[in-house]
Symmetry: C2
Subunit: 228 residues, 2 copies
């Protein structure tokens, strides 16, 4: 489902350039659950932003479902993001003027679903992540961990085929983290969702089948879970 | 140094009220390093916001250095926050229009320090937290963990007598977390700084001398580290 070939990403201009990604290549099959770990500033968020088409790469290719996303037109990119992708941002990225319910609904209204179906899907994902009582709160009325769960609900409510998660349990206590990770695992097993998850937490990483280690923008190690 | 007596905090209006803090009392002596742990939404951030005077309590008293902060006038509150307090926010709270250097300098310029002294203090704390090369970056040019270290540097650069930290290692890998925690420990041992730190990470909690456990706005348990 995902094939990353020799990608590089630079920030800045001629004199002052930072190389955030330095010649990274890897493949992910459909239904895989892959973790990404690495020190702060090593390029994990940059990698996810490039794969999700939120940011552009400087050189190389990224193929998703055999389509090269670096050459897709704007309209095709928007359709891909809307229908195939669920993204959980490191800083949550909730809209402050909408309630938790409306933030989650956003992902479904852009897919032109009916209001009754939207309501059913939101109530179901809210129950799984234990945020049902918080749906009428605005982001400023939520704690850090509650915001992270609302942001996760927005990404998962469309049951996307590819889930990109950037430290999804960073602000969560161990019980909330387990609820979210169990939801990931269910989507992975039942719907064959492919998951790419950045984390620096060992418990969270233990859910992945394979872990890529990144340092200074390069993959320097890989761990594959043994047969259970 | 800190005496919290029967405090309560409610959010919302008559019909729709959330009790975030429900009758909490505890004392912290000068030079103590205290951890606060608890599930997501249990009231940890609300507690720190009330102690730091960023938010107000509904009932009860908070005494810092034998002064009741719930009755201090505006000017006295500002002086207390400027001279005694260092606060590391859960969402970093950096100003997007300033560089990392300027964000850190802000805490010192409001104390009317000279530019040479400001420069020396910033360079020294930046070196401890390994962000020296990032000082000319704006927040949007920093990774999640780098932002958290800049926010911590801003809180620590004034060597405050009371440090309040809200999940200061949430976005950090284990090496960066250790750097920050070692800096806390040094301030605690050498300057007798009192530290109150919210965390849900076991390694981070292991630095504290005492841990208060909070659930639904109440302290329900306390652990005191045995003699080493
Ligand atoms: N402005 C507000 N209006 C209404 N309710 C609020 C407001 N701010 C916080 N709350 C509620 O108060 C409770 C405590 O929030 P708080 O942010 O203190 O939790 P926390 O322990 O820090 O959680 P986390 O670990 O997720 O950061 C939560 O249930 C939250 O929904
Ligand atoms: N807009 C930008 N301009 C310049 N440099 C940037 C920009 N965004 C990120 N960087 C740099 O690129 C590098 C990689 O950043 P990235 O956010 O991918 O790190 P990360 O691995 O996600 O780290 P963390 O664990 O701290 O979140 C960092 O050194 C950062 O300073
Ligand atoms: Mg990141
Ligand atoms: Mg909090």
């Amino acid at each position: 489902i995902l094939n990353v070939e020799k990608i590089e990403k630079y920030y800045g201009y001629k004199g002052n350039v930072t190389k955030a990604i330095d010649n990274i290549s890897f493949k992910v099959d459909k239904g895989e659950f892959v973790g990404i770990m690495g020190p702060s500033g090593s390029g994990k968020t940059t990698l996810l932003n490039c794969i999700s088409t939120i940011d552009t790469i400087t050189t190389g290719h990224i193929n998703i479902n055999n389509k090269d996303i670096t050459v897709l037109k704007r309209k095709a990119l928007e359709n891909f993001r809307r229908d195939e992708l669920g993204f959980i941002f490191q800083d949550f990225n909730l809209l402050d003027t909408l309630t938790a319910y409306e933030n989650i609904a956003l992902a479904l209204t852009i897919q032109n679903r009916g209001t009754r179906e939207i309501d059913r899907l939101i109530k179901s994902v809210a129950k799984k992540l234990e945020i049902s009582e918080l749906l009428n709160n605005y982001p400023f009325q939520l704690s850090g961990g509650q915001k992270q769960r609302v942001a996760s609900a927005r990404a998962l409510v469309t049951e996307p085929s590819l889930i990109l998660a950037d430290e999804p349990t960073g602000a969560l206590d161990s019980k909330s983290a387990r609820l979210l990770l169990d939801t990931f695992e269910k989507l992975n097993k039942e719907f064959q969702s492919t998951i790419l998850m950045v984390t620096h937490d060992a418990f969270t990483a233990s859910y992945a089948h394979r872990i890529l280690f990144i340092k200074d923008g390069r993959i320097f190690n890989e761990l594959i879970r043994g047969e259970d």
